[in-house]
């Protein structure tokens, strides 16, 4: 170790050191380089661009990108260990399943679906809101639900900035307080409509919209980062219309039609003279001053194992929620969460997304599931957040209920009716017969935060550099299980109204498992808030303990809402950026004192 340290090359100082060049890192890099700062982004994966890495001749390859996961971080390089309860022994996730973190320029923002939401105004003040409406006793046992320290109104301009960066296709539901027929009547007020009109929807979505209305719900096209029309964004980067190719999530988009760092940021970023990207370099640690109050820069290793120290004035962790938390723990930024004493903050309040719903089998239909996009879909938000009365239901939280087809790729998408064997002549017949006749109605639900759901360092398993892996202790708690079932029952009812001859109710019956894909919506672990005892970051995503470190990403969510995270991740990034530009750079130091 000492020998290795002696060999570390110390590089010239930079104004800003960014760890990870995905969604959040690329936005901050561009904006801060435009402030004239010297910016270096250190990214552990390779450079990736559309023409080279997801060329139209090679992009549509389910085996390579989905089954073999070529663009993800290799678990051999970094993974996590996992257990459901604090009493169990965690074991490593040896190959990715439940979630699929990216590696390489663009991060997970390259192979995401692009469903781009704003959280509800109540989501940001959820503890106060629920307590006021139902009383503190209505909150689930063992919960650590807390307000965010930032409000929807504060974030609104920054949601707008991210949506106009991406060119999101959608239709407004609430324009400056005026409810719009075609949009989501439950959304918070927005200053202007979406930059591009909504995507066209498929046959299943038409059936769903009609059925949902019959049930008294308010369906609307899901806001999409797969664009309906050509669009040139605020940075001068141009996107093309989506062709519904059905190779979206888990793939880079060969059409330049999916908002990503590649399509929306990098062409502008690479023209900035004061910006430099270092790829295939893994940051191992944020270095701190002797008193632990100031970051002096980062240490990283290149792919040949050579170690470098990159000094910097400002360190921005943009390494994806889970890896931000691990880097904080490995570097000693903030007090680690101790579940037994219920003290400390780093690793606290890890949460996820719940999924439930209905699979709907039709007598005759041609859903053409391959004609799809990552965020095609029609959603109803009537049962999301606290949009409905939870009195007597026995749970808090909610879900967005959606009809969607994102793909019909047949290595993984081969639905058959329940009871069908998994091979043989009967399997083959059912597979051929069912492919066109199935659709789903799904509920993507909130997950509250609990004392027993958290991240810390694993005592046993190490990465190739000998550093402990992150350990995840997580299961869906009773509140989420009740909610998921209630939502699934509604999904079944809607599916029946759509005309399904057979419906299956899917809900959470087993412990959370790392095996089947669920969502890459890992939240919490370095949450924002107004009290340093229960949050790792202040309301500007600045570390309470080390004021020249800001931590981007869904790690800042105190609990998760009933939506995909990235719209809010993008808004928080612009929100933090605004504070850095207008206040921090003029007078570096804590932006909030308590």
């Amino acid at each position: 170790m000492d020998e290795a340290r002696q060999m570390t090359t110390i590089l010239p100082r930079k104004g800003v050191v960014i760890v990870g060049l995905g969604w959040t890192g690329s936005i901050l890099a561009l904006e801060l380089a435009r402030q004239g700062l010297d910016v270096v982004a250190i990214e552990r994966g390779p450079w990736r661009d559309t023409a080279t890495d997801f060329n139209i001749g090679t992009a549509a390859d389910e085996l390579r990108y989905s089954a073999r996961q070529e663009t993800l971080v290799k678990p051999a390089q970094e993974t996590l260990t996992m257990r459901n309860t604090p009493a169990q022994t965690a074991l490593p996730i040896r190959s990715w399943g439940s979630f699929l973190p990216g590696s390489g320029v663009g991060g997970s923002g390259m192979h995401w679906n692009g469903q781009t939401w704003r959280f509800l105004p109540n989501d940001f003040v959820i503890n106060s809101h629920l307590t006021a409406r139902y009383g503190a006793a209505a909150l689930p046992q063992g919960h650590q639900i807390q307000d965010w320290g930032v409000t929807y109104d504060e974030l609104e301009p920054h949601y707008d900035a991210f949506e106009y960066l991406c060119g999101i296709s959608g239709v407004a539901g609430n324009l400056r307080g005026k409810i719009q027929e075609e949009g989501n009547p439950f959304e918070g007020a927005r200053q202007r409509g979406y930059p591009t009109p909504p995507l066209k929807q498929g046959y299943a979505q038409d059936l769903f919209a009609k059925a949902a209305r019959e049930h008294g719900l308010h369906p609307f096209p899901r806001p999409s980062a797969n664009l309906s029309t050509a669009y040139t964004n605020t940075y001068g980067c141009s996107l093309a219309p989506c062709t519904y190719c059905g190779f979206c999530e888990r793939f880079g988009c060969a059409n330049y039609a999916k908002s990503s760092p590649q399509t929306c940021v990098l062409p502008a970023l690479m023209r900035e003279k004061t910006f430099e990207a270092r790829t295939e370099c893994e940051v191992t640690k944020v270095n701190l001053s002797a008193d632990g109050k100031h970051a002096t820069g980062v240490t990283y290793v290149d792919k040949d194992g050579v170690e470098f120290e990159q000094p910097g004035d400002l360190v921005l962790l943009c390494a994806y929620a889970l890896f931000n938390v691990r880097l904080m723990l490995l570097s000693g930024i903030g007090k680690p969460y101790d579940r037994d004493r219920n003290e400390g903050v780093v690793g606290r309040n890890y949460a996820y997304q719940s999924s439930s719903g209905s699979t709907a089998f039709f007598e005759s239909a041609r859903f053409n599931p391959f004609a799809a996009s990552g965020s095609l879909g029609v959603t109803a938000d009537d049962y999301n957040g606290d949009n409905f009365d939870h009195g007597g239901l026995g749970f808090v939280g909610g879900a967005s209920i959606t009809s969607a087809h994102t793909n019909g790729r047949p290595i993984s998408y081969r639905p058959v009716p329940p009871g069908t064997p998994t091979w043989g002549a009967a399997w083959k017949r059912a597979t051929a017969d069912t492919y066109q006749k199935v659709t789903t109605v799904n509920a993507a639900g909130s997950v509250m935060s609990y004392r027993d759901c958290y991240l810390d360092l694993d005592p046993t398993y190490k990465d190739p550099l000998g550093r402990p892996l992150l350990r995840m202790t997580f299961d869906f708690q009773d509140n989420e299980r009740k909610m998921a079932r209630w939502m699934a029952e509604h999904c079944v009812d809607i599916a029946k109204t759509m005309g399904a001859k057979q419906t299956v109710l899917n809900t959470i019956t087993e412990p959370w498992s790392v095996v089947p894909y669920q969502t890459t919506h890992n939240t919490g672990g370095a949450v924002m808030g107004s009290d340093p005892k229960t949050s790792a970051l202040n309301k500007y995503l600045q570390s309470w303990d080390v004021s020249n470190v800001f931590v981007m990403g869904a790690s800042a969510f105190p609990q998760n809402a009933g939506y995909n995270p990235t719209g809010t991740v993008g808004a928080l990034t612009y929100w933090a950026l605004n504070a850095i530009k207008t206040t921090y750079l003029k007078n570096p130091g804590p932006l909030v004192t308590v």
Partner: protein, 244 residues
């Protein structure tokens, strides 16, 4: 490395030429873009087995043909090239677990929710699993190998392996079944460039059009049959072989 790009080759030689620290790869000033620098997969070409032995391949042929039987709906697993697919996958980086986390310890008791915890590579799973199956068959069926059993006997045995009711000597029956089942399905439904899905049999079975990449017409005309034939990464046979 399976997919070597021109850029990687260039980068590797550039690094070798310089004695200064590599700094990983430093990119600034412009997009590091080079014309024609895409990296397609290496197509599987017919030819001798690369990992499986002839005996192993005969057993896999027999298994994949029961998993995906040949019938009026289309080719079975064997004729669709599932064995070739499996052979080439095992011969490549998939076979050696290049991406999996493989550090121990490997405790005996694990939770189902923690996923597969075996230290064995796919190559070891096939080699050891098929050897155990061969031993089991010989002992149980009067010296006959799996491929010599009747279709009904094969089906009964496969069901026993899948459920774990059949105990193979020194190897998990469930693990062997899961490996072959997963890889056979991959082979049947993956792009034909990887050696399976011959004549796009898997895609025709469900009506998947492959890599056409543009379905604006389908979205515009809901609930209509899709009539165009599927296309692979390598196009269609008649596009590349004139006169056919």
């Amino acid at each position: 490395m399976v997919y070597k790009t021109r850029r990687e080759v260039l980068a590797a030689s550039a690094v070798a030429a310089l004695a200064t620290p590599a700094l990983g790869r430093t990119i600034s000033g412009e997009m590091p873009w080079e014309p024609n620098d895409a990296h397609p997969p290496a197509p599987v070409v017919p030819g001798p087995l690369q990992f499986l032995t002839p005996d192993e391949a005969a057993t896999i042929d027999a298994i994949v043909d029961r998993l995906i039987p040949s019938d009026e709906l289309g080719l079975g697993g064997k004729d669709a090239g599932c064995t070739v697919f499996i052979d080439r996958q095992l011969a490549g980086s998939y076979g050696t677990n290049e991406t999996r986390y493989t550090k121990g310890p490997f405790p005996e008791h694990t939770l189902p929710s923690q996923g597969a915890q075996s230290p064995l590579t796919p190559r070891e799973q096939y080699r050891n699993g098929l050897a155990a199956l061969a031993t089991y068959c010989k002992a149980t069926f009067d010296g006959r190998a799996f491929e010599a059993l009747s279709a009904a006997e094969q089906d009964t045995l496969l069901k026993g392996l899948q459920k774990g009711d059949v105990k193979l000597p020194g190897f998990s029956a469930k693990m062997l079944f899961a490996a072959v089942h997963t890889n056979a399905m991959e082979g049947y439904f993956a792009d034909p460039v990887y050696g399976g899905n011959h004549e796009m049999a898997g895609w025709k079975l469900v009506g998947f059009p492959g890599t056409r990449y543009d379905y604006r017409d389908v979205i515009a005309n809901p609930n209509q049959p899709y009539t165009r034939p599927p296309v692979s990464i390598q196009g269609r046979a008649e596009w590349t072989k004139p006169g056919k």
